[in-house]
């Protein structure tokens, strides 16, 4: 019932676990799947008969919907389980929730959870394929994959590309997954943000650290601007959103002083006027909406590969749906 991909193994927990070839296989497989979303009838029978549970223990709109579209466009049957608050507050443990779902003979679980390691925990305990849709501050692999696909689309390569991730690195799973993925494919990665929001020994992940955004802009080809959550101010990591914008905000003035055209990514949802100004978000260098489009294709590729698909047959698998 449950497949194990020759390419990815049983699960996608994080990009730290993947080789450069595996990451490339996902990105290459995503390319042909992009076109499905452009069709009038956006459906191919690649995952027909597969059941997938989207298990979201944290609120999420964008990621959940993106996964759901990917699943439905591949003809899987999907169920969404949303639970605000932790599994513990519900009185049922994570492992019990998973085992119950599995007893209903599901093929795949897409999990989002507030605890780092939750996806690995689940993957080790159930036979279904597990896809990490974000675990605490650990990893958010499909987000990084769609970021990488977007950069590769626009710049034609990842090798040697300089990407600076800006903002709250400490709490960011997006940052960690991007760091693993980009460095594995030969990219150079830097982080920039207030010292209170950079993790200890972050250099040991193989990144440069810039304390001033001006230096980061001078260095980078790409800025990946993270969302600055209001609660970080409430917890005292930064004194005010206003000062954050003044010191680290991505503004048009700052970009105009850059030595080259920068690509601007943002995983969303944006706080306009805080980490990014509207004229940048809506400006010519922003690829934020391309990221969203690519998100569906990347997730289709991951689902397809974990279900036992092979990259070379993605094009053929996709065509099988034509005329349906």
């Amino acid at each position: 019932m449950t497949s194990s991909s020759a390419y990815l193994g049983k699960d996608l927990v994080g990009l730290q676990d993947l080789s450069a070839d595996q990451i490339r296989a996902i990105l290459d497989t995503a390319e042909p799947f992009k076109e499905i979303s452009e069709r009038a009838i956006k459906k191919v029978p690649v995952l027909r008969g597969k059941t997938i549970v989207n298990l979201f223990f944290e609120p999420s709109t964008r990621t959940r919907i993106s996964f759901e579209f990917a699943e439905k466009r591949l003809s899987a049957d999907t169920v969404n389980v949303q639970s605000t608050g932790s599994s513990v507050q519900k009185g049922e443990t994570l492992v019990d929730t998973a085992r119950n779902l599995e007893a209903m003979r599901i093929d795949m679980v897409v999990i989002r959870h507030s605890a780092s390691g939750a996806a690995r925990f689940l993957a080790d305990r159930i036979a279904s394929n597990v896809i990490n849709a974000g675990d605490g501050r650990h990893e958010h692999p499909t987000q990084a994959l769609l970021d990488m696909l977007t950069i590769r689309d626009k710049l034609g390569r990842l090798d040697g590309v300089r990407v600076c991730i800006v903002g709250d690195i400490l709490h960011s799973r997006v940052a960690r997954s991007n760091i693993w993925g980009l460095t594995r494919l030969g990219g150079e990665v830097a982080v920039c943000g207030p010292r209170t929001l950079l993790p200890t020994d972050v250099e040991e992940l193989g990144v440069h650290v810039f304390s001033r955004i001006e230096e980061a802009i001078e260095w980078a080809d790409v800025l990946n601007v993270l969302r600055l959550q209001l609660e970080r101010m409430q917890a005292g990591f930064i004194p005010s959103l206003r000062e954050y914008n003044r010191v680290f905000g991505i503004t048009r003035e700052r970009l105009e002083r850059a030595p080259r055209d920068l690509l601007i990514l943002h995983p969303g949802p944006m706080n306009r006027g805080v980490e990014i100004d509207s004229d940048v978000a809506d400006g010519p260098h922003s690829v934020i909406l391309d990221q969203v489009t690519n998100g569906v294709a990347v997730r289709m590729a991951v689902l397809y590969l974990l279900a036992g698909g092979v990259p070379e047959r993605a094009e053929a698998a996709k065509r099988a749906g034509e005329g349906d």
């Binding site: 780092s116 390691g117 675990d135 650990h138 990893e139 960690r176 972050v202 992940l205």
Partner: protein, 432 residues
């Protein structure tokens, strides 16, 4: 009264008398009668040949959580005492963070009486520093001492208020007991679940920096100096902490300190894979810290090896890392880890091991035992320092199995644990 026992032909190690050699030990009427070459036992004596084994004053663990009352699904005084004697311990000091906490003479009396009723290892209650462990007001220390308390601590909920800590270090002087301190500045550790550093950054777990422990060790050393009170620092895990304690001792401050087997054995890397059995507080630190803890044990800066035996139910550890509780069991692996990691690796000698696990703990909390002087309690541990065995958590006598050492091959295992002249552990089973 049990029959007299003659332990014949073992290697007797008693640091309190400077003894290390092949001798006989005679126990009768609950006390040590004598240590000598070729003792002729009185009629009716049970003669136990112990050639090739170490005979030493009973091991004493200053830091265990027996969970009763309130958390009997994790451990009880009875199951904890069984685990203790199986690990070679003749006495343990039970921490007060139960539910309700051990913060008055009645609850101290309960723990003491239950230990006596069980009749295995001696169970010495440690009372709370503050009422309800709320960190506000001192407990009735004198009455708790009368009921059997041997020290006070708010272990697990460190005393945040420096003024209250000062009062505790002053007030306890009347009763001659130490204040044991779990050193943690919670405003620096809050939200953290492992050591802060490269590993926590990689795993996306919030970290607990060394400074969270060091700041509090510094504070408590200064308060011990100010007050002249007796301070015992629990489970030292940082290189900075070891250095400060070393320096404080050189200045003559009345401080003792303990190290746990997990802190002298494992580093933060053990957490990799989100292993909740490697989650404890203080957390596992770096290789540099482990080296400093070992050096501290070697030079006596860390006087005592104590386990911080912290049983948790399987379900509680079978969770995402952030949600699992802190702590591991230690009573049944401590001796093996000390022999394997410290003696065999040349950090300390066997006599030093006995000093750190028996003589020094007795001295730190002024407990009977820790010596084989004639007339002292007949609490004796007999262990085989070269016996190799595999840690099998399923076989533990503790109610809990939360250990990162499952499957480890260790050397050194208790073959007889004798309390008050009675053999309560014979290498395979415990009996009161």
């Amino acid at each position: 009264m049990p029959k007299p026992i003659l332990l014949r032909g073992g290697r007797v190690i008693d640091p309190s008398q400077g003894i290390d050699g092949v001798q006989d030990v005679l126990l009768a009427e609950g006390v040590v009668v004598g240590v000598d070459r070729e003792i002729s036992p009185p009629e009716g004596t049970e003669i136990v040949p112990v050639n090739g084994l170490v005979v030493c004053p009973g091991l004493i663990d200053l830091h265990v959580h027996l969970r009763e009352p309130g958390f009997e699904h994790k451990e009880t005084i009875a199951s904890g005492a069984r685990a203790a004697v199986a690990g070679g311990f003749t006495a343990v000091c039970a921490m007060p963070n139960t539910d309700p906490p051990i913060d008055d003479p009645a609850s101290v009396g309960f723990v003491y009486a239950e230990g006596v009723r069980v009749g295995l290892a001696r169970v010495y209650p440690v009372g709370a520093v503050s009422v309800g462990m709320r960190g506000e007001r001192l407990t009735e220390v004198g009455e708790m001492v009368d009921a059997g308390a041997v020290a006070i601590t708010d272990d697990g909920l460190p005393v945040a208020d420096a003024g209250l800590m000062r009062l505790a270090l002053e007030y306890t002087q009347t009763f001659g007991i130490p204040v044991a301190s779990h050193c943690e500045e919670r405003s620096l550790s809050r939200g953290g679940s492992m050591n802060e550093g490269a590993v926590s950054t990689r795993l996306g777990l919030m970290g607990i920096p060394n400074a969270a422990e060091d700041v509090m060790i510094a504070r408590d050393l200064l308060l011990a100096e100010l007050t002249g009170g007796r301070l015992h620092i629990q489970h030292v895990s940082t290189r900075g902490g070891v250095a400060m304690i070393r320096e404080a001792k050189a200045r003559g401050i009345a401080v003792t300190a303990e190290a746990t087997p997990h802190h002298f054995t494992l580093t933060e890397e053990a957490v990799d894979g989100y292993r909740t059995d490697a989650k404890m507080n203080p957390p596992l630190r770096t290789a540099e810290d482990v080296a400093a803890v070992r050096a501290g044990i070697a030079d006596g800066t860390l006087d005592v090896i104590a386990t911080d035996h912290a049983p948790h139910h399987y379900d509680e550890k079978e969770q995402a890392f952030d949600e699992a509780p802190f702590g591991i069991v230690g009573l049944e692996t401590a001796l093996g880890l000390a022999v394997t990691e410290l003696v065999e690796k040349g950090v300390i000698t066997l006599p030093q091991l006995v000093e750190r696990m028996s003589t020094a703990p007795a001295r730190a909390f002024r407990l009977p035992g820790g010596t084989l002087r004639p007339g002292s309690p007949a609490d004796v541990t007999v262990f085989d320092p070269s016996a190799e065995w595999t840690v099998e958590p399923e076989a533990f006598l503790s109610r809990s199995r939360n250990t990162p050492f499952g499957g480890w091959r260790l050397r050194g295992r208790a073959l007889y644990t004798i309390v008050g002249g009675r053999v309560v552990w014979n290498g395979t089973e415990s009996r009161p």
